[in-house]
């Protein structure tokens, strides 16, 4: 089982939502889930810090949520479908969130998608990248 989850770590820029991540991010994700109710969205917007205190997350997770640091939230156990509910509460599209996570300007990201998306070439494997670097 360890081999199964470890193998995914070779894929660049990708975090697999496995048992470890799911346990780490449980309360962060359940906070996100609460944003499916309009009243909770309003309460969160009114006082984000106070609202986040309702959930037994780590301070690091709360700070990442306040900062809207999606990559950090992913690393701390957030799952993208749950995190997207923060984006929806903020009024942002999924494409906007995706561009944020790639560090690209939204217009540049859109242009990349219109041109056929990000190529898998060079993006499949960290081991392959290291091999290419030393060759």
């Amino acid at each position: 089982m360890t081999d199964y989850t470890e193998a995914f770590k070779d894929i660049p820029g990708t975090i697999i939502f496995d048992a470890t991540q799911s346990r780490r991010g449980y309360h962060l994700n359940m906070f996100c889930m609460s944003l499916m109710k309009a009243a909770n969205r309003a309460a969160f917007k009114a006082d984000e810090r106070a609202y986040l205190e309702r959930f037994p997350m780590t301070d690091e997770q709360r700070q990442a949520a306040l900062d809207r640091d999606y990559n950090r939230m992913l690393a701390l156990g957030g799952n993208i479908y749950f995190l997207a509910k923060i984006g929806a509460t903020d009024g942002f599209s999924f494409q906007n969130l995706a561009s944020k996570m790639t560090g690209m300007k939204e217009d540049d990201y859109k242009a990349m998608m219109l041109a056929g998306g990000r190529s898998p070439e060079g993006n499949r494997s960290l081991a392959e990248r290291r091999g290419a670097g030393s060759a």
Partner: protein, 280 residues
């Protein structure tokens, strides 16, 4: 007896639903996407299925982390569109087919697939976007729907091979249902896309094309692709493609490809669609 007449697979991108709901289908960005479904809309309308078994995944709408069923079959009378954070989509309530759903549950469980039976479940874009693509914007959906939700969010999701064999068990179940019904099986999600992290935006046209080819030419081989190959080649959310194998398993070995469509992009995703017909 009931019979499976045809199967189809399609992406279920939420932005496609939003484009429809907001009346933006004629815009240059969206027009090519919707025109790619015109043939199938007409084809399906002509065949008028009584029931669609609709394989999809829930996106943290009905199922949070509290309960994560691998395969969940909707046995309720009806299913309401979910509020995914923007309010529910303005689409009709989905009418179920409890008799067929319970029959499939019983038959597949006795065939050793441990299905979760669901009597209350809101359905999100994963289920409603394919309905909109195939049926447009009617006042009510033209057929009954049996929702079949598959976990592809929490790892591990079911293997492609397990999905393929579940499809076969569903076929056996449908063909032993005593009512005279025309049933279609739809597999949804995919094709290549990644929504998370620095690699977001990944698209792999070559992988997707080969996947479409192998659905008819080599489904047994296709079912053996391991999870890591989906993620590596088709992006982290490309894993949704295992759900297409449930549809494929439910069709005859010699099912024929009627139509396919492929387009990049819809938002972050490669849109893929294929229509398969069982021999008569």
């Amino acid at each position: 007896m009931a019979r499976i007449t045809a199967g189809l697979a399609t992406s279920h991108v939420p932005a496609i639903g939003a484009a429809l709901d907001l009346g933006r289908t004629a815009e240059p960005y969206w027009q090519p996407v919707f025109s790619g479904y015109e043939f199938s809309k007409r084809w399906i309308a002509a065949r008028a299925p009584d029931v669609v078994v609709l394989v999809y995944n829930d996106h943290a709408s009905a199922f949070s982390l509290e309960l994560i069923p691998t395969f969940a079959i909707g046995c309720a009378e009806s299913f309401a569109p979910a509020d995914e954070g923007w309010g529910p989509r303005p689409v009709p309530v989905v009418e179920g087919h409890p008799e067929l759903a319970w029959h499939i549950a019983q038959s597949t469980i006795l065939d050793e697939f441990d299905m979760t039976i669901v009597n209350r479940m809101d359905v999100d874009h994963g289920l409603t976007v394919p309905l909109s693509l195939m049926f447009g914007q009617p006042a009510q959906w033209p057929c009954r729907i049996v929702p079949l939700a598959v976990n592809v969010v929490q790892y591990p999701p079911p293997t492609g091979n397990r999905c393929y064999h579940l499809g076969k068990a569903i076929r056996k179940a449908v063909e032993s249902f005593p009512e005279d019904l025309d049933v279609m099986v739809w597999g949804t999600g995919g094709m290549s896309h990644q929504l998370q992290g620095p690699r977001a935006g990944l698209i792999n046209r070559e992988f997707d094309t080969r996947f479409l080819d192998r659905l008819t030419a080599d489904p047994e081989g296709l079912a053996r692709i391991p999870h890591i190959d989906y993620v590596r080649e088709a992006g982290s959310e490309g894993i949704e493609l295992v759900m297409w194998l449930i549809m494929r398993g439910a069709l005859a070995a010699d099912a024929r490809e009627v139509y396919r469509f492929y387009h990049v992009p819809a938002s972050n995703t490669a849109v893929g669609h294929i229509l398969l017909e069982n021999p008569r």
